[in-house]
């Protein structure tokens, strides 16, 4: 196979902890000498490769570093050290409808959200109909999104994020929204995406979602890759181990 879709090498991410809560000039001026920065290493050197067309689930307990890893890949964070390479257009589904403005109409938000996700104005315009149809919002699309229910918002967010022609999706626990019918639609969208050769890296705590979508699992534990392999092999171990650990 050619270049991997995602290649991560010895990736580390450290966060600085602050106990004072919101920072202010006062605390900075008063404590600038005594201020001891506590650091917390969330990712402690992670390496893996994901080939094109693979569908990989990240599993692990809360705080294992799954979301941090996705955020790093989405270029929201900068790694402390190590390298990562993403070959192909990335579709970040970290939070559906990030950046929706309540006072703007659904249509205006589609345009804006699509452009935040890296499309040009023209490209978004061309996809608007498809997005509206997928979100099933034909009748409300001209109303301000503050009048939408949370399910409608999630549908619109998912519709925009999945229509930006990405080659790689990174998904953070966003499929657990909407009703059953919409959930099925999401899975259908994922299947279509995979059939076209798309790559998916997703985080889920839902056993069925993992089995349904992923053919490979990466198990993160305390910032390290604990195990990496086929879903059938990893998931049962994770489910028994992860629980007995409690």
């Amino acid at each position: 196979m050619s270049q991997p879709a995602i290649k991560v090498e010895d990736l580390r991410k450290q966060f600085t902890l602050s106990h004072s809560g919101a920072a202010s000039l006062k605390t900075m001026l008063l404590w600038w000498k005594r201020r001891q920065m506590e650091t917390h290493e969330v990712l402690k050197g992670i390496s893996f490769e994901i080939q094109r067309g693979e569908c990989v689930a990240l599993v692990g307990r809360n705080g294992a570093g799954k979301s941090t890893l996705l955020s790093l890949l989405a270029k929201v964070y900068k790694p402390t050290s190590g390298s990562m390479a993403v070959n192909g257009r990335l579709g970040p589904l970290l939070e559906l409808g990030a950046g929706f403005h309540p006072d703007l109409s659904g249509l205006e938000n589609i345009l804006f959200n699509g452009m935040i996700l890296g499309l040009t104005r023209k490209e978004v315009m061309a996809r608007t109909d498809e997005i509206v149809r997928f979100a099933e919002l034909e009748h409300q699309i001209d109303s301000p999104v503050r009048t939408y229910s949370s399910g409608m918002l999630a549908r619109l967010g998912f519709a925009v994020a999945t229509n930006v022609d990405a080659e790689i999706w990174i998904v953070d626990e966003v499929l657990a929204v909407g009703d059953y019918a919409f959930e099925k639609k999401c899975y259908d969208a994922i299947d279509t995406f995979r059939a076209r050769g798309g790559t998916i890296l997703f985080v889920s705590h839902n056993e069925h979602a993992v089995r349904r979508v992923a053919d490979r699992c990466i198990w993160l534990q305390s910032g390290l890759v604990h195990a990496d392999g086929k879903t059938d092999e990893i998931l049962p171990c994770y489910l028994t181990d992860g629980v007995s650990e409690l």
Partner: protein, 291 residues
């Protein structure tokens, strides 16, 4: 810095969309819409005009035009910086979830305020023409000087952009910054020739003797003061200005455009832009990790 600029260029459409969005949101729920952005400065200028002309008995020619030509640039400086101070912090939920060049946020605030400013300038020119038609404004108000306006705007945007980068980046980490900035803006109003003229300053410093030139020079080290004076020279046809010369109200001719002051303001503005942009780029990756 070059690669950052390239990345910014790649996202230019998003920047435009964000400007459009900001303008739309501002007037979405108001009946008078875009009129507000013009009404506010006009009302302020009416009050200032009343104070200067009637209370302080200043008989400068075209004084209302003079005030307007000084207040509009000041308002752009003030509003753009106060708006952008909040821009990154307000967008933090998006910044935490999606990648895009963060500098788009303060830039969108600056550009949408620039659009207001240009609109207001257009209204100013209409006002000056009416004044000329109705009340016998001494000369035709629009002169070839107006051609200098784009240069002024460019320098002004550099200054405003640079300060906005600094303020918006620091405000993410220390929310005191926006309070400090609003106090500084208030003080800046008195240190810039809006309610008076640079000529007033010049003649007031006369009693300093040999230090007059130095004092006048130091006063104009403030690029905002220099820019406002430059806007006036560009926008208002010269008439007589009333100043206090040795305590006596005297009508004097406006001072000539000072190229040295303007050159210093250009250097300052560009330096602040470069400094501000590099500071912003240095801090932008830490926005999401804000304690």
């Amino acid at each position: 810095m070059l690669s950052e600029l390239k990345e910014l260029w790649r996202f230019r459409e998003l920047l435009l969309a964000m400007v459009e969005r900001e303008l739309r949101i501002r007037y979405k729920n108001s009946a008078l819409g875009v009129l507000w952005s013009l009404l506010n400065p006009l009302l302020t200028v009416v009050v200032m005009w009343f104070v200067l002309k009637t209370v302080m008995q200043n008989n400068t020619d075209n004084i209302s035009a003079y005030i307007l030509a000084g207040y509009l640039p000041f308002l752009f400086f003030q509003m753009a910086i106060l708006d952008s101070a909040q821009s990154v912090l307000a967008a933090l939920p998006v910044v935490k979830k999606v990648y895009f060049p963060r500098e788009i946020l303060p830039l969108a605030s600056v550009i949408s305020n620039l659009i207001h400013f240009v609109l207001a300038l257009a209204v100013y020119l209409i006002y000056a023409l009416i004044l000329w038609g109705v009340t016998g404004f001494k000369d035709f108000p629009v002169k070839y000087n107006v051609l200098f306006l784009p240069v002024l705007l460019l320098v002004h945007v550099c200054l405003v952009g640079g300060v906005s980068f600094i303020v918006s980046a620091l405000n993410v980490f220390y929310e005191d910054v926006k309070y400090v900035v609003s106090v500084l803006m208030y003080l800046m109003f008195f240190l810039t020739p809006v309610m008076y003229f640079s000529e007033t300053v010049f003649y007031a410093m006369k009693k300093w003797g040999a230090a007059q030139e130095l004092g006048f020079f130091l006063y104009h080290l403030n690029p905002v003061a220099t820019l406002i004076t430059a806007y006036r020279k560009t926008l208002v046809a010269p008439g007589k200005i009333q100043v206090l010369d040795d305590g006596v109200a005297t009508q004097v001719s406006p001072l000539a455009f000072n190229w040295l002051h303007f050159g210093i303001a250009v250097v300052f503005s560009v330096a602040i832009l470069i400094l501000g942009y590099s500071l912003f780029n240095k801090l932008k990756w830490r926005f999401v990790e804000r304690p």
